[in-house]
């Protein structure tokens, strides 16, 4: 698993790249590092606290002067800048150091050099051949540096086990998984506007969808984007739009129209720190209220949250299923940590998952009502012949069963209930999530979204030490699955862990919703708002104190 932290600048500023390697399930980026590479003095100072006692500091001795009193670390200085310039010639200046370090790491960690060289050649293939050659020279120079056998003896991996029974693994980031999940779900149309950290989903769909006969439009603004997507959906092609919090705020009027007109729509919110422009490149889970309640009037919509990169793929399929079946807007919550981190997961069985995206234009029989009160709405897209010659209008005004505007008190009550009832139907079919750990006991940690990894790792660590902790992770946040309270009742404490503010009354956003829903005083809250993912230690300290 990798994590990337980049500043909100075009170029320059400190960038961090974390890698955690394990043979089993890698759940989080880890609380401390075994191995730290520092190219600059400021990165040394900023991150040396993250290195565990006995950990190795590999530093550029041309730029970094480590504190000689910190004897708890193994210091390995390499004149990285000088050696890179030596290897590439004076024109290299500051470039190529990262590839030199990759060479060093390949030697220390016994990485597959042939594969790395191939990747380097691929990565720089778009540019002139010189660039790829220079990069390979930097890699060779790093690999050839006599970093010492002592160091390389510390790290030796078992050769990768050939998984004969299981499926092959694919490696991608969360935004890629969401984009390809949408394609698997039969989504062929969409529209968006650039914003971090959503943009890469838009970029992938813009270049991929034409291969599948579709189109993704870069719109003039967020309002145009959601309106275009609704145009596609109204025309019979379930469509997607997305953004981060600021853009979702702009889309909210049109999402309300989708609730009222009952048009299926997928809305992705790759959350970042808020409010307003907030922390564009940091992580937060503070848009849950907005996702569920972010519209005027009673405007029901379904809200799902992806928990891992792999889940980003499957949540797109689930969201599309719900949107089509219930003719409703569905909001998918991801966040900036899922968006940019890379994970390996079992390759999905595409043959059984792929959907046929064609709209249904079969003629509708006499008496077709677009908003019949006795069934879930299923629209007739334009182009559908109507046997009784009566063509439907979809509308954001309150309407009767035929879609005619009405101010009738009875009809407004009945239609409001109709729109709400379909989410209640949905709640009945959502599977109850499984409890990780003991089915009952001392404390249940409840999470949603990208906190899945650190929460599960915290539970695993606590259980190894004999402490009774369990975890429950919610994918469906609105509506909630039925039967949660029965699970809560089996634990002495229920602690909802989320990356948002404790609020005026001391409870985070999901905790507040669960307390309102179940009136269960056992539900407590553990929140934080530092813009960083939860560390396992933070969770254990917060829960066990």
């Amino acid at each position: 698993m990798t994590y990337m932290t980049i500043p909100s600048t075009i170029s320059g500023g400190p960038s961090i790249f974390q890698v955690r390697i394990g043979s089993g399930e890698v759940l989080s980026a880890g609380d401390e590092a075994d191995f730290l590479v520092a190219l600059h003095q400021h990165s040394y100072q900023e991150h040396i606290g993250f290195l565990r006692d006995g950990g190795i500091l590999l530093y550029d001795s041309d730029n970094v002067q480590p504190d000689p009193n910190k004897k708890q670390f193994v210091h390995v200085g390499v004149p990285i800048t000088g050696l890179t310039i030596e290897a590439l010639g004076g024109s290299a200046k500051d470039k190529g150091k990262n590839i030199f370090v990759l060479g060093l790491l390949a030697r220390i960690f016994h990485l597959d050099t042939e594969k790395l060289k191939r990747l380097i050649a691929e990565r720089f293939s778009g540019k002139s051949g010189d660039v790829a050659n220079t990069a390979l020279m930097a890699f060779q120079a790093g690999f050839a540096y006599p970093v010492g056998n002592v160091l390389s003896r510390l790290y030796r991996f078992e050769p990768g086990l050939e998984t004969t029974a299981g499926r092959a693994q694919v490696t991608m980031d969360g935004n890629q998984a969401l984009a390809y999940g949408l394609i698997a779900a039969g989504v062929r149309h969409g529209a968006g506007y650039p914003i971090t950290p959503w943009s890469s989903i838009m970029e992938i769909l813009r270049s991929e969808l034409p291969k599948y006969g579709g189109v993704f439009v870069q719109a003039e603004d967020e309002l145009g984007a959601v309106s275009l997507a609704l145009g596609f959906s109204y025309a019979g092609h379930l469509a997607v739009t997305g953004s981060a919090g600021p853009g979702i705020s702009l889309k909210s009027e049109a999402i309300g129209w989708a609730s009222m007109a009952e048009i299926p729509l997928l809305v992705i919110n790759v959350q970042r720190g808020g409010p307003s422009t907030g922390l564009p490149t940091n992580v937060e889970q503070s848009d849950l209220y907005q996702a569920i309640f972010g519209g005027h009037g009673d405007s029901p919509r379904a809200v799902l949250a992806a928990s891992t990169v792999e889940d980003c793929f499957y949540i797109a399929l689930e969201a599309a299923r719900i949107a089509r079946k219930y003719s409703t807007p569905v909001i998918i919550l991801s966040d900036s940590s899922l968006a940019t981190r890379i994970e390996a997961f079992d390759e999905p069985d595409l043959k059984s998952l792929m959907h046929d995206p064609e709209p249904d234009l079969a003629p509708r029989d006499e008496g077709f009502k677009p908003y019949a009160l006795d069934r879930v709405t299923s629209h007739a897209a334009p182009g559908t012949p109507m046997r009784d010659g009566k063509y439907p209008v979809v509308t954001g005004l309150e309407h009767d069963e035929m879609g005619h505007p009405t101010g009738s008190p009875k009809l407004h009550a009945a239609m409001t209930a109709k729109r709400r009832r379909k989410l209640q139907l949905l709640a009945e079919e959502i599977p109850l999530p499984e409890v990780h750990g003991d089915p009952s006991g001392e404390a249940l940690l409840v999470g949603w979204g990208s906190t899945y990894g650190p929460i599960h790792e915290a539970v695993n660590q606590a259980r190894e030490r004999g402490e009774g902790l369990s975890a429950l992770h919610l994918r469906h946040l609105h509506p909630l699955p039925s039967g949660l309270n029965e699970i809560f009742d089996r634990f002495k404490r229920v602690i909802v862990i989320e990356m948002n503010d404790a609020g005026l009354y001391g409870y985070g956003q999901l905790a507040t919703i669960l307390r309102a829903r179940y009136c269960n005083p056992r539900i407590r809250s553990l929140t934080k708002t530092d813009g960083l993912t939860f560390r396992v230690r933070e969770i254990l300290e917060g829960v066990l104190k």
Binding site: A254, L350, P382
Partner: protein, 309 residues
């Protein structure tokens, strides 16, 4: 698309078949005439009934979809152009008609109008311009003339109004026409030429609000003593008279005509051929599909996943 093999027997598209709810407009509203002209055009052209789509945003005139018995959608204020763009781009089989007013099109939806025009989305947009917000009962609109007394400008409007024709030409619309709701034949001609145009076609119809701005367009109505002066378009017949006629592909000349004082001219100001976004996107799709050869969607996605192993 799952188009049924045997279509139900096609009935003629008559005014009766097209009539839906009785309009909620005030008696005497200019929009009635626009609706009548639209019925007549559809009757004349006999498009497949199920392939006609009538869309609108919010405003008096944006109630249009309820009054036409075709597939339709009544959307939110100002965003009808992108909604219609989504319909148009994904459904080449449909005829997309968009109706709205001056507030919806030039004020809250002004940015979408510019970009729909620039992208040259294939659709026909009829803007019923009455120089006032009627549904909210007499506020200044983006086209209200200076001096017009409204509830938000009790001493007379002070802001420079939008010139719709200039705005549309500058934004990149490829068909721009202007007509008057009292001139039914001219209105029909403009609607027909707009729907035959392959691109973003806009017809501005001066449509009087009898309640809040009566008499606003009398200066363009011969029956009220005004002048309905039609633009003479070039016939390219090499006659001396043709020299003086308007070349609809000449952007600068169109701009100059649009600058004439009220009531100005009526007819086609600007009409050019430029590839639509519809055709450019389709071309990209065709090329991408050709590159993929005979691969099915599953195979294309599988190949992508194979590269990520």
């Amino acid at each position: 698309m799952n188009v049924p093999a045997v279509l139900p027997e096609r009935e003629k598209v008559t005014k009766k078949a097209l009539t839906a709810d009785h309009p909620t407009w005030c008696p005497g509203c200019g929009d009635f005439a626009v609706l009548a002209a639209f019925y007549k055009v559809l009757e004349k052209r006999q498009l497949p009934h199920e392939n006609i789509v009538t869309l609108a945003g919010i405003g008096c005139s944006s109630r249009f979809p309820y009054f036409v018995n075709t597939h339709g959608a009544h959307f939110i204020h100002g965003r009808a152009v992108p909604l219609a763009s989504g319909v148009s781009l994904s459904r080449p089989d449909l005829h997309v008609f968009l109706f709205g007013g001056d507030g919806d099109g030039f004020s809250i939806g002004g940015n979408h109008l510019d970009h729909g025009a620039r992208k040259n989305i294939r659709l026909t947009y009829v803007i019923m311009d009455n120089f006032v917000y009627g549904l909210t009962k007499k506020q200044t609109s983006p086209t209200s003339p200076i001096g017009y007394r409204s509830k938000t400008d009790p001493t007379g409007a002070i802001d420079q109004p939008v010139n719709p024709i200039k705005k549309l030409i500058a934004a990149g619309a490829t068909f721009v026409a202007r007509t008057h709701a009292t001139q039914i034949n001219h209105m029909m001609q403009m609607m027909e030429r707009a729907m035959d145009h392959d691109g973003f076609s806009v017809v501005e119809v001066l449509s009087e609000c009898v309640e809040f701005f009566p008499g606003a367009f009398d200066a363009g109505n011969p029956r009220k003593g005004g002048a309905f002066t039609i633009i003479e378009e070039k016939k390219w017949d090499n006659t001396p008279e043709d020299e003086a006629r308007h070349d609809v592909t000449d952007e600068i000349a169109a701009y100059r005509l649009a600058n004439l004082p009220f009531p100005g001219l009526f007819g086609v100001f600007y009409e050019i051929d430029r590839p639509t976004k519809n055709s450019l996107e389709s071309k990209w799709v065709a090329e991408a599909r050709a590159k993929a050869g005979a691969s099915s969607d599953v195979e294309i996605l599988q190949k992508t996943f194979d590269r990520m192993k």
